[in-house]
Structure formats: C-alpha cells, structure tokens
Symmetry: C2
Subunit: 388 residues, 2 copies
C-alpha cells in the first residue's frame, strides 16, 4: 500500500465527477464544529438560501441530503409514494429506468412513458398515460446523463398539473449548468448532485419540495419506508427546531456552501451562458472534424455532449489514450449505447474554453493515429470561431 | 453572509463528531479522479482491507456506505429483513429505539428486549424473547451513545446463534476506540461511522456482513426496499466487477483511507489502550472532584463518558461556559437523561491526556463558579496519578 495518496491531476470531462473548484477544496479545510452549534446553523442557512437561488424557488423545504444523487432520487420518490400508488415514469435513458426501479421498490405501480434513448419524451404521451391511469405523480429526467438529452419540461408540467399529479424532476446534470426554474415550471420535487455542474465533491444531494409536495408527505397513511431519507424528520433538523436526526457530513456541507458562493458570484445567467458557449464551441469543433452529435440540436444538453463514435474506431483505446497521454477523462456509453457514443462533460469548473481546445486537439491526434482522415486543426479553428 | 467560512477551532469532546486528524484533512486535498479509474479501485481496496483489519473480520462484504451512521443502521436492517419477518431488538437507550423504528419501517415486527437506560441488556432476556418468537435476527447496540454503556456482546451472540438468528451489532461509538471482533464474536452484520473513534469527517458508514448474512440477502423473496442502500448492488461496485451503482463520495473515501492508515500505524492494541487510559484518567479526575459516573464501572464505555450533573447545577450554562471560555464541546443528555448527565467523548484523535487535563481544569473552574465546593486541583492530580 502506498501510504500517501497519489491520485493524478485529471481533466475530468466525463459524466461526473467534474473537477472541483480550488476554493471548494480550501473551504473543506475549515475546522469541524458540533452539529448543534449556532455557527453551524449559520452555515446551513447559507446553504439553503443559496440552493433556493439556484433552484429558482421559494420552497421552504430545500436542503442537501446526506447521500449522493441516488439518495435524492429515492428520497423524492419514497417520500411521495406509498404502496398502491401509481406513478407515471418517463424513460428515455438509464436514469429514467432507475426511477421506475425505485417506484417499484416503494410498492407503487409505474406507468411507463417511453421514448427512444436520445429523443425527448412527448408531452402528449404523458397526457395519454394520465388519462388511462390516475397517478399520484409524474417523474421525468431533465438532463439525461446517459444520452446527453435536455428534456423540455414546461409542457409536461402543465399536463401533470391538469391531471392533479405531482411533478418530480431529476436535475442531476442540469443544476448549476443550465436553467432550472422550479417555481416557474411548477416542479413539485427535484433532486440534484454536487459533483457535476457545481464543482463540489460528490456526497450530497440537494433536493427541493414544493408546498404541495410537503402537503402530500404530511397526508401519508404510513411512514416513509426509509428512515434515513424521511424528509419529515430531516427537515426538522434543517428547520428552526434543529432536532437531531443524523450527524450531518459537515465538511461536505462546507464544500457545498463554497461551491454555491462561487455560483452566486459568477451569476446564474453568466454561468449558464458560459456552459452554452463552451458546448457550442465543442460541437462546432467536433462537427468540423467530421464527427456527428448523438442528440439533435434543439435537445442537446450543454453540460454533457454525446458524440457518435466513428465506424471502425476503438472506443476503449481512444478513451485510454486520452487518459494516458492527455490526462483527460471522458465517458463511454452504457446500456444500448455502449461502444456507440462518447460522453463529453463540460460541467461547472470543468467547463472552460481551454478544456474544449485541449480536448479537441487531443482527440484529433488520437483519431488521426487511428486512421480517421480529417483536416488537421479544423476542430480547434471551428471552436475558436464559434466562441467569437 | 460571511464569504469566508470562519468556524472556530473547537476541542470536540461531545458524542461526535470528534476532532479530525490533521493527516486526514490533508488527504482530502488529493485530486479527485473518475470512479472507474484503476487508481481509484486501488484506493477502494486499501479502504476495504483496512476496514477488515479494524472490524477484525475476513468478511468479503466490508465497505463504507455513502451515508452517515443512520444509513448503516438502515442498510443492515433493510437488507436482512422483509415484510413479515420478526426481529428481536434490544433497547437500553436512544439508538436501540431507532433500530426498532427502522425494523417497523421494513414491515417487520420487532420483539423488544428492554433494559433501563444505562444498564446492560441481560442475555437471558434475549433468550426468553427468542423462545417466544422465531426471529430472523437479533439487533443490539455495542456502545450506546445516549448512555455511555458498553454492552457485553459474546453471550448474546451465542444465544442468537443457538436460535438460528442473525446477529446485528451497532458499533458506531466503539469501532476504532475499543475492540470490535466481528468474527470471534460471531457478528453477522455491523455498521459504524467515521466521525467518532476514527478521526475522519462524518459522511460514511463502514459496514460488514458475514457470509451467513450475505446468504440471507441472496435468499430474499423481494428486493430490499431501498435501492440506494441495496447491498447486493453496492457490493457489485466495490467488488471485482466494479459495476456502477452511484458516484462514490471520493474525497470522503480518501479521508477514510488516511484515517484507517493512522489507526493501522498506531496499532489496534495501542489504540484501544490509549482510549482506555484516557478514559480511566478522566473518571479518576471526575470522581476526585466529587462527581459520579452514570454507568457502573464494568460497562463504562471508554470512548464516551457519562457523568451525573450535580444537583443544582445548570446543565446548559456549564456547557455554554465550556464552549465559550475554553472552546470545549461536550454533549448533554437526551430523552429521559436530558438535564441529568453530560456526555464527554474521548474518541479517536480527541482522546488525549492533554484534553483530559484541560477539560478537568475547565470544568473545575466553571463548577467552582457555580458554587459547587470541591478540593481545587484534585481532579487533574487524580487523573495524572491514574495515568501513572
């Protein structure tokens, strides 16, 4: 065993984690204090206030859960669903499938609305499902990490509301990288993560519940099956009563606070514009190199770019060369997309034009070595032109 | 909002978190890497190997869950129990009560064996319960954080085994501070935390499952109700297959690795001896000051010392003075012990003779100010004599 941890300094352009902002690393060095100290309550208030700003919501119940994104998905579903309930689950990728799995484990019945991976869910299909089944909620993924698709939300929200269903949205790969407007869109429950577009380490899952969702939790016939993720208990610690539920992961909360401050200082509009600009530069570069994006333009996710792997090119060998020669991590596809696409994240602190240029140059070198013919230098030139 | 986090440097002698070892803070600064990089698999192997050493087990399924101790309690119970199962739950404090709560949320029926808070569970009562009810498991708390009691384990284990029940033990406040011998004691499932006797930040819950417990999980009729805490999925990521389940909290895992290395370098025997020595010095000091321990000597927990608050002394005022004047945090009692005891942790990096001396001196000053008469200097003198 090497005693000193000696992990390499990677450029993380995969589906997450992305690179951690240096200020966030430093914030984690602050002394730990007891979880009932007033100074810690102030830290918690900073975090919940900044999270509300980011989620664009007034929701009182807005806080980071002490687990990764999966715990957020489970918390949203298992606090809202009871055995016997029905939920419309929209599936157009891996994370939609996971939602169905959790709905089933809650003892609820999923009514699935499907679209091909990489294409958006059609609102009329959600409406058809709601006509057939009286559902307690509709669940959809805003930004599908497995496909790179940005799902339009507002029309589905309107339909859910029309049929009296709560609306649950996965914002794991969008929060902090593109607009997430909980209140304006009429979202009732949403969960996200810290390690993608926020530039913080993985370990927490920010969630937000509307007053309607909180009311639904209050009307449960039986307790939520998970004690650890029971929001009625967790909010008593995060609220004014500060009733002990579990020891909060204080250093992760310090890290999240700093990451949210970085977001706040950059400004939401400027931050989303940066993500979009770098995404467009990357796409322009890739297309100039003769590559094809997996998702059609109107639904391309600015934070996670999916590229079709050219015929005859070895997926794993290219990714290994990026990592070994250039310290760049990108993601492969999984499930039906394994070996078919690359997933190139431009999230949070990792989303910079320098990373775009470095990645395009590196990919050009490697693909050239793989025998793919392309006009050398065209990718970077197109990216720089697109940036303007 | 203060932009820079400015938490004070506390001496954490409460029920946890305890102080974080400086090496652990530094280890968290290592660059984050992807969760499928071989270098990260090496970090994971280091952690699981060191955890086995600490749990004194050969259990293959030994890993840190991505949540705090409560997630470990829930994981142990919800992976082993199914609706309709019965579990004998031993309650002699707050955390036993929580076990019952989680057993109920699993749809299982608890058969409760109770002892007064601060007294141990009697093995014959466990046997009587097992005679009455066929139970799938027996659950007990090794070190009750709410009372400061160290529960003898071996006899209860023998009885559980005799009746064919799995044996689940909460080692939250013992692991890393006193011997936890999973294999020798015949424990089937155990969970702990990182922020007490390990000197790491809160955020992970080390768990270990015997082959018998793993077999029981494999024989389930239905999936565990929690997807996030489903050990059959989590072990596929921590095992050789490295199948993605959720993004691991990498920096917390770096921290745990370093904390476990610190434990390994100190050596288990030396570490337990240090905790015991400082505990004895503290008790000698407190008794020389005329104070009384809440738990009788044979069952006193070396990592968490509970002291009876003298008549007429204001609990909260004393604790506030310790914090404000001396930067020392200790815990109050809760539930039936609120206002009746103080809980003084000497855990992990916080367990040092310097802290014992400082605490005794500070408490003497404050109690003297509260009008408690005692021979000045007697506490520290007795502690130093006891240390030898």
């Amino acid at each position: 065993m090497t005693h000193t941890l000696n992990t390499p300094e990677r450029i993380l352009l995969g589906p997450g984690p992305s690179n951690i902002h240096p200020r966030v690393y430093r914030a984690m060095m602050a002394p730990i204090v007891g979880y009932l100290e007033p100074v810690f309550f102030t830290v918690m208030e900073d975090v919940t206030g900044l999270l509300r700003e980011l989620f664009q919501t007034e929701n009182r119940l807005t806080l980071p859960l002490s687990g990764t994104g999966g715990s957020g998905m489970e918390a949203c579903l298992c606090n809202l669903l009871e055995p016997g309930d029905r939920a419309v689950v929209c599936i157009a990728g891996f994370f939609g499938t996971r939602m169905r799995e959790i709905v089933e484990r809650c003892g609820a019945t999923p009514a699935v609305v499907e679209a091909e991976w990489g294409t958006p869910i059609m609102p009329e299909m959600v409406e058809a499902a709601l006509k057939r089944h009286q559902a307690k909620l509709v669940a959809v993924v805003h930004a599908e990490t497995s496909t790179g698709l940005l799902q339009p939300i507002e029309e589905i929200s309107r339909i859910a509301q029309m049929y009296g269903a709560l609306f649950v949205v996965d914002t794991v790969t969008s929060l902090g990288g593109c607009a997430v407007e909980i209140d304006r869109w009429g979202v009732d429950a949403s969960y996200s993560v810290t390690q993608k577009c926020l530039g913080a380490p993985p370990g927490l899952s920010p969630v937000t519940f509307s007053s309607g969702a909180v009311e639904a939790v209050g009307k449960r016939k039986q307790k939520a099956q998970s004690w650890y993720l029971d929001l009625s208990l967790i909010e008593k610690y995060w609220g004014e009563e500060h009733v002990y539920h579990h020891t909060p992961p204080a250093l992760m909360i310090y890290a999240l606070r700093e990451a949210l401050l970085v977001v706040h200082e950059e400004g939401l509009d400027a931050r989303f514009a940066r993500h979009l600009r770098n995404h467009r530069a990357l796409v322009a570069g890739l297309e100039a190199m003769g590559l094809t994006m997996f998702v059609a333009p109107p639904c391309q996710l600015p934070t996670l770019n999916t590229v079709v792997i050219p015929d005859g090119v070895d997926d794993v060998r290219v990714r290994r060369a990026l990592l070994d020669q250039f310290q760049i991590e990108i993601g492969g596809g999984f499930g039906p997309l394994k070996g078919k696409i690359w997933r190139v994240g431009l999230m949070g602190y990792s989303s910079s034009i320098e990373h775009v240029v470095l990645f395009l140059s590196a990919l050009e070198q490697i693909l050239h070595g793989e025998g793919v013919s392309m006009p050398m230098g065209a990718g970077v030139r197109a990216a720089m032109e697109r940036i303007g």
